[in-house]
C-alpha cells in the first residue's frame, strides 16, 4: 500500500507542477503572439558607433546593497547604462549579496576581459586591490574609496562637504526654532563628510548673519554625534528624527541611505501634529527619487555618480585613462545642491543670492570647507 501511494502522489505532484509551470510560461509567451515577424535584418547600418566602442567592455560590480538601493549602487549603475546607450560600448554587471561575493564577481569580470570595471563602495577595496594587482592590464575604478594606490585603479571620491555646506547654510536660514539636526547611519567618513559640511554651513551662516543657529546630532570638533548604527532598519531613522524634532530641530538631514524614508515619515507625522519641520535629502535629488516627501523637502545634497562614470569610460575609450583620483566637487559638478522645488518660496531671495556667492567662493577657494573626511 505504502509504496504505490507514495509513487502515485510523488508522480502526480511532480507532473502537475511541471505541466502547470510549462503551461503558465507558454501562455505568458503566446498571449501576445499574434504580431508581425520583423523583416530579416539587412547588412550593416546598425553600428553607428566606432569599432573601438563596440569591442569595449565596461563592467560594474555592486556591493551588498544591489543595483536597486536608491543610492550609490543605483546611480553608478544607471550612469554606466547611460554610457552604453551614448557610446555603444558593451556592459556586464554582477550584484553581490555578501562580502564573500566580491572576489568571485570581480574574477568573473576579469575572465570576461572587462576593459574597465567599476566597483561600488569602499567595502570592495580589498577585493579590487587583489584582482587589479593580479591583472595589471585591466582598468578599474572604485567609488567612495581612496585607499588603493595602483596604476590601474582609479579612485572616485566626492568632496560632499562642499554641497552639504550650502545645504547647512540654507537650513540655518529657514530655521524658525534656531535649531537644525542631522544624524548618520554609521560613523564612517563617507557619512560624516555630509555632517561636517552641513554643520560648517550653519556655522558660516551664524558668522555672516550674527545668528546663533544650533546643530543637533553632530559635533565637528569631536567627530561624534547621533547615529542609527544601521543602514537597513528604516524605523531607526524615524526614531532618530523624532529625537531631533523633540529637541527642537525644524530642519533634519538624515545621512543614512534608506533611513531617509524613516526620517521623512517622522517629519510628515510631526507636521500633522502642528510642527513645521523640513527635510534635507542626500545622495540623489529626493524630489525625484522619494516623491512621497515632496511637500517637506527643502533641498538635497547630490553626488552625481553617473556623470563621473560616463566621463571615465569616455576617457578610457580615448586612451586617456589615468589612476589620478576623480574628486567630485562643486566646480566639476560632481557634487551639487538640488533645487528647492516646492519649497522655493521658503528660501528668501537674499539667501539665494548669498548661496550663489558662497558657491563661487567655495569654487575659487576663498571659502574653505574643511572636513576630516574630505578626499585629499
Amino acid at each position: 500500500m505504502e509504496e504505490p501511494l507514495k509513487n502515485h502522489i510523488t508522480g502526480t505532484f511532480k507532473r502537475g507542477a511541471t505541466v502547470g509551470t510549462v503551461a503558465l510560461g507558454a501562455m505568458a509567451l503566446l498571449l501576445t503572439g499574434c504580431g508581425q515577424a520583423p523583416a530579416p535584418a539587412g547588412g550593416g547600418g546598425s553600428t553607428s558607433g566606432n569599432a573601438a566602442a563596440a569591442n569595449y567592455l565596461g563592467c560594474i560590480v555592486s556591493d551588498s546593497g544591489g543595483f536597486d538601493d536608491q543610492s550609490f549602487n543605483q546611480s553608478s549603475y544607471e550612469g554606466l547604462k547611460k554610457t552604453v546607450a551614448d557610446t555603444g560600448i558593451k556592459m556586464k554587471e554582477a550584484q553581490s549579496t555578501t562580502k564573500a561575493d566580491f572576489e568571485p564577481n570581480l574574477n568573473q569580470m576579469a575572465n570576461a576581459g572587462c576593459n574597465l570595471t567599476f566597483t561600488v563602495g569602499f567595502l570592495l577595496a580589498d577585493a579590487t586591490k587583489k584582482v587589479a594587482t593580479a591583472d595589471p592590464k585591466l582598468h578599474f575604478a572604485i567609488i567612495d574609496d581612496n585607499s588603493i594606490k595602483l596604476p590601474n585603479v582609479k579612485p572616485i571620491v566626492y568632496d560632499t562637504a562642499q554641497a552639504a555646506f550650502l545645504a547647512g547654510y540654507t537650513a540655518a536660514s529657514v530655521s524658525k526654532t534656531g535649531k537644525v539636526g542631522t544624524f548618520g547611519g554609521i560613523n564612517i567618513p563617507t557619512v560624516t563628510i555630509f555632517m561636517d559640511g552641513f554643520a560648517e554651513g550653519v556655522a558660516y551662516y551664524n558668522k555672516q548673519q550674527s545668528k546663533n543657529v544650533q546643530v543637533l546630532g553632530w559635533n565637528v570638533g569631536t567627530q561624534q554625534g547621533l547615529f542609527a548604527n544601521t543602514f537597513d532598519i528604516i524605523q531607526e531613522g524615524t526614531k532618530a528624527t523624532n529625537n531631533l524634532i523633540g529637541e527642537g530641530a525644524d530642519v533634519v538631514m538624515p545621512v543614512a541611505g534608506p533611513l531617509g524614508k524613516g526620517a521623512g515619515d517622522a517629519i510628515l507625522a510631526a507636521n500633522k501634529g502642528g510642527k513645521d519641520v523640513k527635510l534635507v535629502w542626500v545622495d540623489s535629488d529626493g524630489y525625484l527619487t522619494a516623491p512621497t516627501y515632496k511637500s517637506i523637502l527643502l533641498t538635497s545634497v547630490i553626488k552625481t555618480m553617473g556623470d563621473a562614470v560616463e566621463t571615465i569610460v569616455k576617457d578610457d575609450l580615448a586612451g586617456k585613462y589615468s589612476a589620478t583620483p576623480y574628486v567630485g566637487t562643486l566646480d566639476n559638478g560632481g557634487v551639487a545642491m538640488a533645487p528647492f522645488h516646492d519649497l522655493d518660496s521658503a528660501v528668501s531671495a537674499d539667501t539665494k543670492s548669498q548661496l550663489d556667492t558662497i558657491k563661487k567662493g567655495i569654487i575659487d577657494g576663498s571659502i574653505k570647507v574643511e572636513s576630516k573626511s574630505s578626499p585629499k
Binding site: M1, E2, L5, K6, I9, T10, F13, K14, A17, T18, T21, V22, G25, A28, L29, L30, T32, G33, C34, G35, Q36, A37, P38, C59, S64, K92, E93, A94, Q95, T97, T98, K99, A100, D101, E103, P104, N105, N107, Q108, M109, A110, N111, A112, G113, L123, A134, D135, I186, N187, I188, P189
Partner: protein, 402 residues
C-alpha cells in the same frame, strides 16, 4: 498497514515521532529521486530564464507568424545561460586567463563549507533532529576561530590546529545548547536552533563593535587573520581552493564511519528511527541528543573555520552568508548520507561558482540559481510532506466514522 494502526490507536501520535517520520521518509528515497529533483528544478529554471529573456518575449510577439524564431530564441536563451553555468563551474575555454578557465576549483572552494555544514545537518537528521541552527553554529565557529586566529600569535605548526579546534568548540557549544535543552526540557530543537541563529548574529555584531573590532577600521569588521592561522592554498595563489577541503573530506569519511561502523552511530540511527524503541532497548536517548548536537555543531563550526581561515580571512557579520541554510538543502538532497551530502555540496558549490559566471556572461540574474535550489528542496521535501498530511487527514476521517 498504517491505517489499521491508527484505527486501533486513536490517540494522535506524539510530535516527536511525526517529525522523525518525515526525516525517515526523506531518507527512504533513493538517489534517483534526488537526481530527478535536480533535473526538474533545472527544467523549470530554464523556463523562467526563457520567459524573462527579452529576446524570447520579442520573438513570442510574432509567434504565429514565425514559430521557429521563438523556439530558437528559447533555445539560445536557455543554452547560453546553462552553458555559462556549466563552464563557470567546470572549465571555461572562453575565459581570458588560464586561471580563470578552471572554474572547477572555484566550485571546490564554494563546496568546502557546504560539505561541512551539510554533514552537520545530516548527522542530526539521522538522530531524528532537525538542526536548523547550522547558520548560528557557523557564526560561532568562525567567531571562536577568529578570536584565536587574529587575537593570538602562535608558531605555525600550532596556530592553525588551534584555530580549527576553537572553531569546532564554538560550533559545538552552540549546537550543544539546543541538544541539552531538547534532552533535559524537551524544548523543540527547531525552535531553539532558529532562535540561536538570531542570538548568534546579534552576538557577533556586538563583539565586532567592541572586543573583536579592527582598531584601524570604522566598520564592524575584525582584523585580518594571522598568517600562520589560515589554511594553506592547495594550488598556489592563483586559486582560492584551500586545505579546508581536505578537512571537509576527512570529515565525510569520519561521519560515514561514525554512522555506519560505530556503536554511537548505531545509537543515533536507532534514536532517529524510533526514540521510544531505542529507550526501551536501553539506550540513553537524552545523552544521544546532547552528543549528536555537540558533534553536529562542531561540524558546522568547522564550516565557519573554512570561511574565516580559508576564503574570507577576517570576521564580519556576513561570514556565514547563506551557507547554514543551504546546508539543510544539501543534506536533504544528499538523502542524509555522508557521501550523498558530499556530492550534493559539490553540486551546490558548482551552482554558486557557475551562477556568477551565468550572471556575468549570460545576463541571467543569479537569483535564478536560488530559485533552482529552492525548487530542489520543494521536490525532495514535498512528496513525503504531502503524504504525511494526507495520512493525518485519512486518520481523522476514519476516526470520525468509527
Amino acid at each position: 498497514m498504517s491505517e489499521t494502526q491508527t484505527v486501533k490507536e486513536p490517540t494522535p501520535p506524539a510530535k516527536e515521532s511525526q517529525g522523525s517520520q518525515v526525516i525517515r521518509e526523506i531518507m527512504a528515497g533513493n538517489a534517483v529521486i534526488s537526481v530527478l529533483a535536480v533535473v526538474v528544478a533545472l527544467v523549470i529554471g530554464g523556463i523562467l530564464i526563457a520567459v524573462t529573456d527579452p529576446r524570447v518575449t520579442a520573438a513570442a510577439g510574432y509567434f504565429f507568424a514565425d514559430p521557429a524564431a521563438t523556439l530558437s530564441a528559447i533555445w539560445s536563451s536557455v543554452s547560453e545561460a546553462y552553458g555559462a553555468l556549466w563552464r563557470g563551474a567546470t572549465y571555461d575555454p572562453t575565459a581570458r586567463t588560464w586561471q580563470g578557465q578552471l572554474g572547477i576549483f572555484e566550485t571546490l572552494t564554494f563546496a568546502t563549507p557546504l560539505i561541512l555544514s551539510g554533514l552537520a545537518v545530516t548527522l542530526a537528521f539521522r538522530a531524528g533532529l532537525f538542526n536548523i541552527g547550522a547558520q548560528g553554529q557557523i557564526i560561532l565557529g568562525a567567531t571562536f576561530a577568529g578570536a584565536v586566529g587574529f587575537g593570538m600569535h602562535l608558531p605555525p605548526a600550532i596556530h592553525l590546529p588551534a584555530v580549527i579546534l576553537a572553531g569546532a568548540i564554538g560550533g559545538a557549544i552552540w549546537g550543544g545548547i539546543a541538544g541539552f535543552l531538547k534532552a533535559r526540557t524537551g524544548a523543540h530543537e527547531v525552535i531553539v536552533t532558529i532562535m540561536l541563529n538570531y542570538i548568534a548574529i546579534s552576538l557577533v555584531l556586538y563583539l565586532l563593535k567592541n572586543q573583536l573590532k579592527d582598531p584601524n577600521s570604522t566598520n564592524p569588521i575584525s582584523p585580518q587573520m594571522d598568517g600562520n592561522a589560515v589554511f594553506p592554498l592547495l594550488l598556489g595563489p592563483n586559486f582560492r581552493v584551500h586545505a579546508g577541503l581536505i578537512v571537509a573530506i576527512l570529515a565525510v569519511i569520519g561521519v560515514a564511519w561514525l554512522l555506519n561502523r560505530s556503536t554511537l552511530g548505531f545509537e543515533y540511527r536507532a534514536i532517529g528511527a524510533n526514540p521510544k524503541a531505542a529507550r526501551t532497548a536501553g539506550m540513553l536517548v537524552s545523552r544521544g541528543y546532547i552528543t549528536v548536537m555537540l558533534i553536529s555543531g562542531a561540524l558546522a563550526g568547522l564550516a565557519g573555520v573554512a570561511q574565516i581561515a580559508g576564503t574570507e580571512k577576517s570576521l564580519d557579520s556576513e561570514i556565514a552568508g547563506s551557507i547554514g541554510f543551504d546546508a539543510i538543502t544539501v543534506a536533504l538532497l544528499g538523502r542524509s548520507k555522508p557521501w550523498g551530502t558530499f556530492f550534493a555540496a559539490l553540486l551546490f558549490g558548482a551552482f554558486k561558482a557557475g551562477g556568477t559566471s551565468m550572471a556575468v556572461n549570460a545576463d541571467v540574474s543569479i537569483d535564478i540559481v536560488a530559485v533552482v535550489q529552492s525548487l530542489i528542496v520543494l521536490f525532495i521535501a514535498a512528496p513525503p510532506l504531502i503524504r504525511s498530511i494526507f495520512r493525518i487527514k485519512a486518520a481523522r476521517r476514519e476516526g470520525a466514522s468509527a
